[in-house]
Symmetry: C2
Subunit: 438 residues, 2 copies
């Protein structure tokens, strides 16, 4: 009887990797996790499914349209679309049982029903860290996050990257001093195009917004500030904008930059960038974006910033915080496409144990000895020709094969083949362990 | 303006842990992952959301009622309810790109809308491993899984546990030889109650099924087989049931037991148990269940077995396999309730760096030095009294505090306090690193 088969397909926008790529993905994920833990962030693992009205307390607009929501039992449910809202819910719900500043990381899948498009995912990993204060949070914590970013990307095998740092109070103070706060987002949009359209066209477009000429001239003076990090701070101090928010922003930025230096981050890995704004409504102080110098097309690989109040939709407690996020699924996809993932480890198994006959039993205690020495060990148990067994090791990129045959059993040895050099030696098991481990 | 607040609540049946418990949970999860990798299983990470008709190709009955399903875009979608169906889909879809035997692990969340009940979860982690053969799979692989179970529970800190092993062919052969195959599940249900209701009542209930007396007598003889593993095999060989499936089952069981011994698993960690059947329709050969001797009420903590054909709903290829699963969320919940999780690591940070004044800057390079030595390091940056800083370390169970003050800066040292012994020493940073690491 031949029955009807269902086509085994996977949804568009849902990443499903072959094992060799999954090994690389997991190494990236675990590297990020270890790096976050090195800075003392606590692990969280909130549910993927939440009550819709809890998850959507704040949402609206584009985000709300992308939500996966459905009914089951007594509730309307939704899949989380980021890790920030579940954090806000968590901190509000467990406030009394947490120690503040509360530093947590969460690495997990989130869901957004975006239009499917190459390199866009509907299920993707976010790797978030946040530091939440109770009522207040020292500005020095803002300097710790660039340190985490630096450390993490170094561990991921990159050294040419730049963390762009700004403070939203500087932009907000600038526009407020010019009584242009309401037009801030329009102005920022025009400024953003300067590399493309040039200075004159920017001035022209700003004039079209009925901005007075002296204000335009202040804006142009502001965005033309350049130089190294110290020179930028100097220019900001000398620009003559007498706004308390603006001055507060400069002070915070200077503090953050000084602390970043004290942490020992090289000067060429961070830069003050007065043009980055990041989510105009959400961030209120320090903001970050990170770019890989060798892969500018990827765009920012890690962004975030300081916000005034994490959980205002759930609690009256004031909970200021600062956080960053790495969009791992997209980053992995892009780096893989560019062949820019460079981990040494290509296989899970360090060694494959095979028999040169159909007698597998003598392989078993050998495998146990290797595993007890903390070596990831696989045994090939099918009755195949010896070449098929070696081919299996090759296909899985397993670096060593241990052959156990009659001769080896009699002499209490194993034959150890290095699959890269194709060299084979006959040694006792403890010597084999040493070679595999070195 | 005081706005309306949404109550920050989490769905019933969805585990959300406080950080101290999450640290323990993650250690269990990572221990299981490392153990699976030590046996060379490849990582998989399939989507949580799948096309409903793909996921439900085989489902029906109770399972189907528990599924979370919903519409979004062009498809009816569903949340996965186990990791076996996604594996079947994956192997069928990527057949040509995989190496067989295909050994994979997957650790991930699955969803079942069960009636909420203490210790029952609707979102829970399964930790699965399976070995899939192409057309056939050597019976020796059945012996590898008890080895993985043994290794994993040892790493989880248990030594008193028993892996119960049986072979479904023995049961199936027994019932077939008595022409009772159709009543097998009813008979098994009665036999299962023997500890509760006693031998006589079992015989009585079997009689009520119109089973002939000599068949009942064979069944009773069969279930009374006892002794050590060798004695059970001997009794089976001598019981005089002349059925080819029955005899094949005994041979396979004997092979598996011999291989398990060759792997070096202690005799008191595995036992032949002729009464375990596990999912009568699914498993076709070796079956396993695992019980913690000290916590019998938890029930089986790891089960699985051999099946004939993984992906028959998706492909004509015959894909026999053998697998096991640990239901981590329930296991963690039960062990935590019994206070039976014994990991040494209670904190993420190994050390908290604090200043004895409001000058935090000198702490920053100290923290970097500690992190560069691979020590998880946190800095307390709020301006609080020094007691509040020590209290923070205590609440998070951080084992060491490094104090940086004027005196330490002048002498290029740090004060290192062991939070368990309350001893404090003033040493240079390299000495502090040595003490923390040892």
């Amino acid at each position: 009887m031949k029955s009807h088969k269902v086509e085994p397909r996977t949804l568009t926008g849902f990443m499903e990797l072959l094992p060799d790529k999954q090994i690389l993905f997991n190494q990236m994920k675990e590297t990020i996790q270890k790096s976050y833990e090195k800075f003392g962030f606590l692990p969280l693992n909130t549910p993927i499914v939440e009550i819709a009205d809890v998850l959507l307390a704040k949402a609206g607009g584009e985000t709300e349209k992308q939500i996966y929501r459905f009914n089951k039992g007594a509730h309307e449910l939704a899949l989380r679309f980021d890790l920030t809202v579940p954090l806000a819910k968590y901190v509000a719900a467990h406030y009394g049982q947490l120690s503040f500043p509360f530093k947590r990381y969460q690495i997990g899948k989130v869901y957004r029903g975006e239009r499917p498009q190459k390199g866009r995912f509907r299920e993707f990993y976010q790797c978030d860290i946040d530091i939440i204060g109770d009522t207040e949070l020292n500005c020095l914590y803002d300097a710790e996050l660039p340190n985490v970013i630096y450390s993490t990307f170094l561990e991921l095998g990159f050294s040419n990257f730049k963390i762009h740092i700004n403070n939203r109070k500087i932009l907000n103070g600038l526009f407020s001093s010019l009584t242009l706060s309401e037009q801030a987002s329009n102005i920022m949009r025009i400024i953003d195009k300067i590399a493309k359209i040039g200075e004159e066209k920017v001035i022209e477009e700003l004039s079209e917004l009925d901005i007075p000429n002296d204000s335009i001239s202040t804006i142009m003076k502001f965005i033309s500030i350049s130089g190294d990090n110290n020179e930028i701070i100097n220019s900001l101090n000398k620009i003559g904008i007498n706004d308390s928010l603006f001055i507060e922003g400069i002070t915070e930025l200077e503090n953050v930059i000084n602390c970043v230096r004290s942490f020992g981050i090289p000067e060429n890995n961070f830069v003050i960038d007065l043009t980055i704004a990041r989510g105009l409504d959400y961030y209120t102080g320090t903001v970050y974006e990170t770019f890989l110098d060798d892969y500018p097309d990827i765009g920012s690989v890690c962004s975030g910033g300081r916000y005034d109040n994490l959980a205002e939709y759930y609690t009256d407690k004031k909970l200021p915080g600062v956080g960053i996020s790495i969009g791992l699924t997209r980053l992995f996809y892009k780096l893989n496409e560019l062949n820019a993932i460079n981990f040494d480890k290509k296989s899970i198994s360090d060694v494959l144990v095979i028999s040169d006959s159909d007698n597998i039993i003598p392989c078993l205690p050998i495998a146990t000895a290797l595993r007890n020495a903390n070596i990831n060990t696989e045994i090939y148990m099918e009755n195949k020709k010896i070449n098929a067994k070696f081919k299996y090791a090759d296909k899985l990129s397993i670096p060593f094969v241990v052959v156990v045959g009659r001769n080896e059993i009699e002499t209490n040895t194993v034959s150890l083949k290095n699959m890269n050099t194709r060299e084979q030696v006959q040694v006792d098991i403890s010597e084999a362990i040493n070679i595999i481990k070195s």
